[in-house]
């Protein structure tokens, strides 16, 4: 076994001491807060993410690997095509393409989704509460200096005891700070310690669908199902910090919350024909709304609809509300059965 001992990096000390001294002078000796930028610790190890957030690899099942072909070689995050309002919609099904989410045991009794207060991942989000620094050199700089990346307190890791709460949902806290150049703060510990005078809001200010991902994987395109590999990095891929480590996440947008603090999902449909459709199948999911619509939520309950004979995936491209007269391409929502699944999607905002 490798002999290990607590690291005592003299170089770090040599570098940190002058900075600490400068910080002491600037902030006033005796103050608990620091104005030393957090150390940059490199990138997260995405293989440590909970399996639901890792890309499809060459070792995955043939069905899952098939999702990556034609657009993104493995490892990849596939995009699937569904429908809304009669038109195709591309989105990432961020819980690893088809993994069912069982959330019924958490949150308010009888509620399908957790209360905001029970969300495990807290994120400090203060993109503009910082001084802009020099412009980025993409060859040498791993991060920008003109806006602050959100700071995660935790990640859904494989060895984190999140249990059923391994969801791509985060509760946002705002932060006030001063004297910090953008991305000087890279750790929640620094916010807790009040570095740069940082002070977080006492309660969450919102809920977002931010799914941590492996940025080194390939991402299928949200604009075309036939984009040559590798697909361009999607606009929804953003940067974040945790413990000084830089990571990436997909932004699925704001998640509505009701007056009781429950997360609000929207009701979609999954089509079943001669064969049972999976939640990751193309053309199988019909969404009631797209980003920007009233009632849109990136959290989608899927209600099953058994297609009549002669109809196939692609025959239905819209949802018809209960009691309304339905067109041929509309799924009569009143004819659906109980929710089959819940998916968390990222589609162009």
């Amino acid at each position: 076994m490798v002999q290990a001992r607590a690291m005592r990096n003299s170089t770090l000390l040599q570098r940190a001491l002058p900075a600490l001294l400068a910080g002491c002078l600037a902030a006033g000796c005796g103050s608990d807060s620091s104005t030393t930028p957090d150390r940059y610790n490199g990138a997260i190890d995405p293989s440590g993410l909970d399996a639901k957030f890792t890309p499809i690899t060459s070792a995955a099942s043939t069905a899952l690997k098939a999702l990556c072909t034609g657009g993104a070689p493995t490892p990849c995050y596939p995009a699937q095509t569904g429908y809304a309002h009669g038109t195709p919609v591309r989105f990432y099904n961020v819980l690893n393409a088809g993994s069912a989410v069982k959330t019924g045991t958490v949150g308010k009794s009888g509620s399908l989704f957790p209360l905001v207060s029970t969300l495990q991942t807290q994120v400090f989000n203060f993109p503009n509460n910082c001084s802009k620094g020099r412009s980025i050199d993409p060859r040498f700089d791993a991060f920008t200096f003109d806006f602050q990346y959100p700071v995660f307190r935790s990640l859904p890791l494989v060895n984190t005891a999140f249990g059923v709460n391994v969801l791509p949902l985060v509760s946002l806290f705002s932060v006030s700070a001063s004297g910090n150049t953008c991305n000087d703060i890279k750790s929640a510990d620094s916010i807790d310690a009040g570095d740069f005078g940082a002070k977080a809001s006492p309660a969450p200010v919102g809920v977002q669908l931010w799914a941590a991902v492996d940025a080194s994987a390939n991402f299928a395109s949200l604009t075309s199902a036939t984009t040559p590999s590798p697909a361009p990095v999607p606009a929804q891929l953003h940067q974040m910090w945790i413990h000084g480590l830089q990571g990436s996440y997909l932004d699925g947008g704001k998640v509505p919350v009701d007056a009781n603090g429950n997360i609000v999902a929207m009701n979609g449909v999954i089509l079943n024909g001669a064969t049972f459709a999976n939640a990751y199948d193309n053309q199988a999911v019909i969404l009631p709304a797209v980003p920007g619509d009233d009632g849109y939520s990136p959290v989608v309950n899927l209600y099953q609809f058994a297609m009549p004979s002669g109809r196939t995936l692609g025959s239905y491209t819209d949802i018809c509300p209960v009691g309304a007269t339905c067109a041929a391409n509309q799924v009569p929502f009143g004819s659906t059965t109980a929710p089959f699944n819940t998916i968390f999607i990222v589609s162009p905002q």
Binding site: V2, A4, M7, S10, S58, A142, L157, N159, S229, S248
Partner: protein, 990 residues
Amino acid sequence: MNAHNADRLEPTMQTSFSRSSRAAQLAILFAAVGMLLAPRAARAAGELTGRVNGYVYDPTGSPLSEVPLTLTSEAVLQQPLTRTTGEDGKFEFGNVPPAEDFVLEVNVPGFTPIRQTGIKVRLGQSTPVDVHLTVQTDAQAVATFQIIEKVNPVLNPDSAQGGAVITYEKAQTTPIFHQVEGMAQQVAGVGPGNTPSTRGGLRRYGKFYVDGMDTTDITDGSITAPMTFDAVDNFEIITGAMDAQYNSMGMITNAVTKNGSNEFKYDVSLTLQPSFAASKSQIAATQPAYYGTFYGNPQPGPDTSFYSPTISFGGPIIKDQLFYFVSYQQNFSTRENGTTVDNVFQNRNKQTTTSLGRIKLTYQPTTADRVSVAFNFDRNIINNNQDDSSVSQDAENKIHRGGQFGILNYDHNFNDNVLFQLESGVTYKKVELNPIFDDFSTPSHFDINSRTTRFNNGSLSSTVVGNFQHESKWRAQFDPTISWKVKALGTHQMKAGFQYAFLYDSQTQGVSGNQRFSDFGFVSDPTVNPNQPLTHGYGCDPTNAITFATCNQVTTYYNSQLQQAPLTTRAWTRTYGVFIQDRWTVNKQLTIIPGFRIDTGRLQGEQGLVTTPLTGIGPRLSATFDLFADRKTLIVAHAGRANDVGNIFIAQHGNPALLQVTAKWNNANSAFPTVASGPYAGAYCSPDPSQNTFGSSCNYAGGPAGRSFASGQTPPHVDELSGGIHHEVAPETVIGIDVTYRHYGNMWEDQEVNRIYDASGQKIVGYANPALNGQSVLQTVARSDAYRQYAGMDLTVQGTPGRWDLLASYTLSYNTGTVGDYFDGYLLNPRMAQFYDGASPDDRRHQLKGSVTYRTAFGLDLGIRFQYNSGTPLWESFTNTGDPTQRAYRSPRGTGIPFTNGAQLFNDPSQWSSINNPAFFNIDLQARYGLQNIFGLRQKAEVILLVVNALNSVDAQSLTDSFANTNSRFGLTSFRTSPLQAELMLRFRN
């Protein structure tokens, strides 16, 4: 270890110390307490001789001028040397060959004649001999008054240089394999092994001089041509604080060879190590199967044997004028190692044969002139050089090499005060590294899953992409110097010289089949004979569907004409150095040694001048102070700089490398991206990046456009500050304490200038130059942030008290930096660069070592050599998915993430911890008994028993620090201590 000497595996370097750690810690404690101060005799660099100097005093204690003195030696001086004291009563015999039988005679009318015997002269050192005359009595008038007193120069007031001199007798009585390049590791500040790191420097910085000729391998820092151990008379090891005549950033071994004399001398020996004298390398079954292990192998224990006859003789050709010395040695070595590859168990045999020959002629036509000419050669063959489970039998390699060098040295004394010296010579070395079966057509397959290479030899090293390499290396040296004395405010021993060297290297490198596959596993074939180690089934074959599941990537290699063929490159350098130095004896207590040198080097290659000429200045200032003016307590201090200006390894690095075109397997169409038409039709990716139509499925590295040198670079250099105090605690025995700080700056690195990585550093997301899309472009730079730093303290003891002979030291050191070796990847990936600053790979925090000999009165000499080294740092690394030729890191150099509940918390930097190889502890023993007394022989007939690794430890020396999510061997043994070896030497000499 130096592959030249792969036939002798010494259990040095870092080794597990699990069983003996407490004992070693106690040993360190005792050493620290016992060795309050340590000796570090100072010596003048680059010299083949020593000095005898001192003062002559009258009975009142006043210096006496105009006193004639005579120095004689039966062993090395054919004619007496004479000197006369100066006005200050001082005399000096310079340019005196090392020996131990010097006699100084002083005969002044009115004073008692004095004959002082037992004066020893060490290589490069001054032997102080003060003469106190007394008034002659009547009883003494007819006889010479004889003083019998040993004078051993363990303190040298003339220089602050650090190191030690190992005499022939000391070397013979030390329990160590008889390899000339292995001597330096006994000295404080020098790491273990035959190519050691010294005081925080790179291993390649070490130099090996033979009679003043630099015989260091011109590209890798090892010795050019090993030589017969018995041909060496003295080893001078210089580890720092060097005088200006040296420009070295590392340790120097200066071997001064035997000359022959008026008496015919012969020395015949036979070393025997039959297989039963070496323990079998059985490894505990609890160790997983990995390199060098013997896990589950049903074969009998692997054998080790070694046989070596040696003969040397010398004598006069013309009495008093022309002498010869000849030596020859032949080694036969077999070292089996248990390997397990594809469930094939084998005792693979690493066979080595080595031939070493030497002849030297020394001509002294007058007392003022001496010419020596020497020729040295070696031949070395090593089969199954890899010899472990990382390769199948057909993926083994072999080494055929040989070298020779010739030396011409000339000394001329114009008078007692002016000496001219010329050291010149030529070295040549040819090295051929080839697949074991000379198969130059079958591509090798590296299995990522098992990390085993099959079908043919893989890359020769991380820096040599080829699997065969043929190299010729030449060096020519011309170093004239002149020394003279000046009297002004004391005495000045001046020395100035010019040093010229021309180095030439021709290298042909290629890859069998011009392709190499990297596969996910391999397909076994049940039809093959499992007992036949040459068959394994199939690796990736783009034409065979049953292998498609293993296909990952294939690299095709092109020369500069974009042909799939080996690449030949030539490089040459010229270095010019001038120096001047002064040994200014201010008074009896204070000596100041200022010096200054300038070096410039021109590095040239296939494309002309590789760099702008590199120039470095090397100011030096040393001082010694005899604290109590009694020659017993000496304070030394030094500051100086040395530069690396003419390194042909760098020049060769500036040549085009093999173009590597890597094609990734496409699962969608089950094929590598294949060029459909044109001149490269059928190739996996076009070798011309501008014609690449497959995007990132094709990657490029090397090639004629792959590298350039930045202009105006500051050459690598080392700045040194050192000081110490040495005290003679007993006759001929000195203890000392020395502290050293070294900063190695502007070290060579390749900086990647085209790729743009994502935050992880493991995905290439763009290129700075769109016209070079998909290509890696390197610029070689010597930046100030590419550095190493060393801070160390030595406690040493050296001397010959009574029947003992001691050379021992404890070193506490801290060695950090961003560079493990030149071009080790520091600047290849900006996302990884921040992790490179940390404990360097040679950071041995604690080193305790010593060789102790006791000579009994009845002809039995007993020796023990012990070594303790704390473990060197590891650095947890990962395969970089963006460029598999690089490593990816998640924590600073010297650290990693320990296991926690079976998993590693890579996303929690608070878990970063220093990780190290196991500590190493070893004891070697030797007994030598002279049979001549029993048989009444005038000659010496000796029986010598050497036991290396007397504790028979097979503990791990080094561990694997690479981590993989699947099948990770992180923390497992990668190399073990060789077990006990005993050898018997029979020796007959006069």
